[in-house]
């Protein structure tokens, strides 16, 4: 299967390891990812906070380029970019004159014909679990993982076409296939505040604290995410939260594709596991006999 | 009737409504004070199976701009099988009318239950709008 790949600004910086793992998994599973040439930032929260048209135009340019290159499907690993692209496509499909207006603003024709999929959907829904199972060399048996979806991947339901806004199972099923043990916890789709933690740290960190607390209360060995911003908040800020709330959280956080890479037999060096803040060495040591560390 | 110039021409739409479902659905529109165009004239019949397709030909020939036949949803007919025959009769008559040149929007058949006031209002409103757009129905008309 061939997809236009829209990494987004995070996967070019703080989420670099997510990008590496995505491509590694794609190569293993025979998925062809072609980066959209000269892609631009989707505007994330800041655009739709400021201007409705700008929030639609920025993602539209990327999608228009993908369409111009004949891609029928666009894979979007970052939840924020995914939500913005989906909203743009839905808005343009819903009103022909908006389609004309957007095409004028971006100086290209955008027909909203191509299907937009989160990378989690690409792997979890389009690729098929039995195809993945074939590549699992080193199942992560015994690894109790809290699958964290965040909000933009699953809501609003009619735009994201997610399977369930309250208790999605796509990532859980994926983790099961690679041998891990997904746990039924309660903060699967609670918001982590995303970029809110920068301008309003106390508020943002409270949200992240609640998520970590609930995962810990269910005895999760690690948390899996499918969004670079959730990853950054949960991974980078555990130290800050322990300081602020007097907690002792040291829960390794993974991108779901990193866990898949591990189960496919890659070692930590093959992808950016060392880049994480909360080191996963001791966990992997315990779990899969040090091969992965 | 005041001479209808093209500008202020008002279509006259005939609606055969079955007493048990669509007629009481029409009443419910009134009970809820919902509004729809004044162009509709409803003829009450005991069942949509009472509506002879010849009434439709006759209506168009006498001057109707649009005709609606409304009955209960299949399975809900008060007389159990009436609307099954209605469905067959008007599947055929609808195509015959189109074959002799009457625009398809002018004749509508719809299943509307006694509780579907909104559906009745929307069906009738759309029918009147379509017919206003089409203009007066002159086919099959007496050559006065």
């Amino acid at each position: 299967m061939k997809y236009a790949y829209y990494p987004g600004c995070s996967l070019d910086a703080t989420g670099i390891e997510y990008d590496i793992a995505n491509k590694l998994v794609a190569r293993t599973l025979g998925i062809e990812l072609v980066e959209i040439p000269d892609w631009n930032c989707c505007g994330a929260t800041s655009a739709h906070t400021t201007n409705h048209l700008l929030a639609l135009a920025l993602p539209a340019r990327n999608l228009a380029i993908a369409e111009a290159h004949g891609f029928e499907q666009v894979a979007v690993p970052c939840a924020a970019c995914f939500a913005r692209c989906k909203k743009t496509a839905a808005a343009v499909q819903a009103s022909p004159d908006l389609q004309v207006q957007i095409s004028e603003v971006i100086g290209m024709t955008y027909a909203a014909k191509s299907e937009i999929l989160s990378y989690l959907d690409v792997i979890g829904k389009k690729t098929g679990l039995d195809h993945i199972k074939k590549h699992v060399v080193q199942p992560l048996t015994g690894l109790k993982i809290a699958a964290y979806y965040g909000c933009l991947l699953v809501r609003p339901v009619d735009i994201t076409q997610s399977d369930d806004p309250e208790n999605p199972m796509v990532m859980d099923r994926l983790l099961q296939v690679i041998g891990a043990e997904p746990i039924a916890w309660d903060y699967k789709t609670e918001c982590c505040g995303a970029s809110q933690v920068v301008p309003v740290p106390q508020l943002g960190k409270k949200l992240i604290h609640d998520i970590l607390k609930n995962a810990a209360s269910y005895g999760a060995d690690a948390i899996a995410t499918a969004c670079p911003l959730c990853m950054l908040n949960l991974d980078m800020r555990q130290k800050q939260i322990n300081a602020m709330f007097g907690t002792q959280f040291h829960i390794p956080v993974f991108h779901f594709t990193e866990l898949m890479a591990l189960s496919f037999g890659y070692s930590a060096q093959d992808f950016g596991l060392a880049k994480h803040f909360e080191s996963a060495e001791s966990l992997l040591e315990r779990m899969i006999g040090g091969k992965g560390a | 009737m005041a001479l209808m110039t093209e500008a202020n021409w008002e279509p006259k739409v005939l609606a055969f409504c079955c007493n048990w479902c669509s007629y009481s659905g029409a009443d419910l529109v009134g009970l809820n004070r919902m509004k729809y165009p004044e162009n509709v004239r409803i003829v009450r019949v005991p069942c949509s199976a009472r509506v002879n397709p010849q009434f439709i030909i006759r209506a168009f020939q006498r001057g109707a701009d649009g005709v609606l036949v409304a009955g209960c949803h299949p399975g809900d007919c008060h007389y159990s099988t009436g609307n099954y025959y209605t469905r067959r009769r008007f599947l055929v008559m609808k195509r015959l009318l189109e074959f002799i040149g009457i625009e398809s929007q002018r004749f509508q058949a719809r299943w509307i239950s006694g509780a579907e006031a909104v559906k009745f209002r929307d069906t009738v409103t759309k029918l009147c709008e379509d017919i206003k757009a089409l203009g007066p129905q002159r086919k099959l008309r007496d050559q006065k």
Binding site: - | S24, D27, E38, R41, V45, P46, R50, C72, S80, A115
Partner: protein
């Protein structure tokens, strides 16, 4: 020569506000056949009807057109007026100026033009109306009541007390419905079993009531006065004549399964009575789980049975009977909240239960012997949260209507928790408290005094933390988000029509509304009747309601049935089909389309064109069976068979009148 009187009604201002009645009356004077027209404020009132009678006499009228409300409302009223005025009641036509003109239009000028057209149509039809006389048909003095909850039992008892035979059909092994499942009933807190089980016994012992438990109605034919109904009684595998109800078999049966009656909180054997005071108080065998019936092992119950009542080869029985009237009392079910409420855990948390499960627990004869316990660990809950409107008043993903009884039974539950567990904390998340019945609000006040904390706001999420449940809501009176750590959460889920009620409605031959509740003939004027004559409604099947309203409705339905059964003959609707032998060619196409098999071909002595005596076949309509649908009139090419009251020429006159 037709002398028509046209009477335009103002209906107070309902019509007059948007239709110039005087102008319509004035225009009506010009219609063919109209010799008198007038408008009046309230045609359906006493003076209005007198006005018509006077006009008939003075103007020597022989047909009447009343332009007022929908004929479905007052056609009968005005027909009686004509009869009292000495005119055949079918020389009458109505124009619907209210529901289908004044109420649905705003532009007075256009509405008046339309009103004139409608009156012109009615007058044109009146021109062709013929005198019709109704004949009679027999009424079988027997009533069928479907569903034996409190509504069905009450209706059956009232009809039986009036001396009529009743067959009461219930699909569960026991009658009683939801009421015996409850512990107490509001607002008087008297014990539910104490007031429902005696009624169950009374039903079982009543000489005029034939009780068919564990049975379902499979087919209904015919119409008011003579419904032929087929009832299928499931195989019980226990001969209730031999069985003494000693219960020995139940104790010996080895395989236990969750008891549906206890909503999964308790177990039962495979040969079981749903609960101790069940009526009939004899067990049935569960064919799906009984080891003997499934894989032919065990057979213990037959061995221990002192009277040899167990019979594994038992088969279902079919009954057929004819009834004059049918009462629907099929009750309600609770909304399957687990399917749509992800934010409350989709049923994953064992300590999130429904109101009925709460009732089963606090019920002395329930699975926990009246003790309130947390299903997860059996502990006594100290902090209990009640959430109202779960699935009700929620058009976005569940039901838009209010389920009426939850405010009161939740207040009752709160009171029961505070009563049974003195140091318990009770929180009720609500949007409104609807306590509109007699002594209802006082009951709610008492619950507040007991110490129940009412928090005004919907709960957004419940999640587990350790063994506790965290309930997140907002107290919108204070305007602050609130959180409760609860041991037990009880949901007041929406009421929905009982499972299978839509299919049953189609079998019996009437319509449910959009939500599946049975549609009453008129919400205010005919609440316990359906548009289908002879079929009546009682209880929650017509819409969510509590026990007092249900019993009141059951009594009303019984009164209607008694009114019907008190007559031995029923006037038939004279608007039936009639075939004209002179035109009928005997092709028989009409015979096939008649839903009531009311037409057959008969031999007619006649002479051919050469005068020779011959016998030829013509169609003949049985006016007792014909219900006047008119399907035959369309299959008849020559128009030989026509529907009196809605004849081809009458309808075509209405059509022509618009463009004459």
């Amino acid at each position: 020569m037709r002398r028509i009187g046209v009477f335009i009604c103002h209906c107070g201002s309902n019509i007059a506000a948007t239709v110039d009645c005087a102008k319509v009356a004035e225009a009506a004077r010009g219609f063919p056949g109209v010799v008198y027209s007038a408008d009046y404020k309230y045609m359906c009132s006493e003076p209005g009807q007198e006005f018509i009678k006077a006009a008939i006499a003075q103007e020597d009228l022989n047909a009447i057109v009343v332009a007022s409300c929908t004929p479905r409302m007052h056609e009968l009223t005005f027909r009686k007026t004509l009869a009292n005025g000495g005119l055949n009641p079918y020389l009458f036509e109505m124009a619907n100026l209210r529901e289908q003109c004044s109420w649905v239009h705003t532009d007075k000028e256009k509405a008046t033009v339309k009103a004139i057209d409608l009156v012109k149509m009615a007058a044109a039809k009146a021109n062709k109306n013929e005198e019709l006389t109704s004949s009679t048909m027999p009424v079988h003095k027997k009533a069928l009541v479907i569903g034996a909850g409190i509504a069905g039992m009450q209706a059956a008892l009232d009809i039986a007390d009036a001396g009529h035979q009743v067959v009461l059909v219930e699909r569960e092994p026991t009658i009683g419905g939801k009421m015996p499942m409850l512990d107490k009933t509001f607002p008087t807190m008297d014990c539910s079993a104490c007031i429902s089980t005696p009624k169950m016994v009374e039903v079982a012992q009543h000489p005029n009531i034939e009780l068919l438990a564990y049975a379902e109605v499979t087919e209904v034919k015919g119409f008011i006065g003579s419904f032929t109904v087929q009832i299928r009684q499931k195989a019980k595998y226990v001969d209730h004549d031999k069985c003494t109800g000693c219960g020995l078999c139940e104790t010996k049966c080895p395989s236990k399964v969750p008891n549906e009656y206890d909503l999964g909180l308790g177990q039962r054997a495979c040969i079981y009575k749903p609960f101790a005071q069940a009526v009939p108080n004899k067990p049935v065998i569960d064919p799906l789980h009984c080891r003997k019936l499934v894989d032919n092992k065990c057979g213990l119950c037959a061995k221990v049975c002192p009277t040899g009542a167990v019979n594994y080869q038992d088969a279902e029985r079919l009954f057929t009977d004819t009834f004059g009237a049918i009462v629907m009392a099929t009750g309600y079910d609770l909304y399957p909240w687990e399917e749509i409420y992800g934010e409350y855990g989709y049923g994953r948390f064992p300590d999130v239960i429904t109101g009925l499960q709460f009732e089963r627990m606090v019920n002395a004869s329930g699975p926990t012997g009246g003790k309130l316990k947390r299903p997860s660990d059996g502990q006594e809950p100290k902090s209990v949260v009640f959430i109202k409107c779960v699935g009700s008043r929620e058009p976005a993903k569940a039901k838009g209507y209010c389920s009426r009884a939850c405010c009161m039974y939740t207040a009752k539950h709160a009171h029961q928790v505070l009563d049974k567990i003195p140091d318990a904390a009770v929180y009720v998340f609500y949007m409104d408290v609807r306590a509109a019945g007699k002594a209802y609000d006082e009951f709610y006040e008492a619950t507040l005094k007991d110490g129940a904390v009412y928090l005004r706001g919907r709960v957004s999420k419940i999640y587990q933390e350790g063994s506790k449940l965290i309930v997140k809501g907002e107290d919108s009176l204070l305007g602050r988000p609130v959180q409760v750590t609860a041991d037990l959460v009880v949901l007041a889920t929406a009421m929905i029509p009982s499972q299978g009620s839509r299919e049953l409605a189609q079998t019996v031959g009437f319509l449910p509304d959009l939500d599946g509740w049975y549609q009453e003939a008129h919400p205010k004027l005919r609440p316990v009747e359906t548009p289908t004559a002879g079929v009546f409604l009682a209880g929650a099947c017509q819409g969510p309601k509590d026990i007092p309203d249900t019993v009141a409705q059951a009594g009303a339905a019984a009164a209607k049935v008694c009114g019907l059964l008190s007559k031995s003959q029923l006037e038939t609707n004279p608007m039936t089909a009639r075939s004209n032998p002179a035109i009928c060619s005997g092709c028989g196409l009409c015979v096939a389309v008649c839903p009531y098999k009311a037409i057959q071909l008969i031999s007619l002595a006649d002479r051919d064109r050469y005068g020779k005596r011959i016998n030829r076949t013509v169609a003949d309509v049985n006016h007792g069976l014909c219900q006047g649908c008119g399907a035959c009139t369309v299959t008849c090419r020559s128009g030989a068979i026509d529907l009196q009251g809605f004849k081809n020429n009458q309808i075509l006159e209405e059509v022509d009148a618009l463009w004459r």
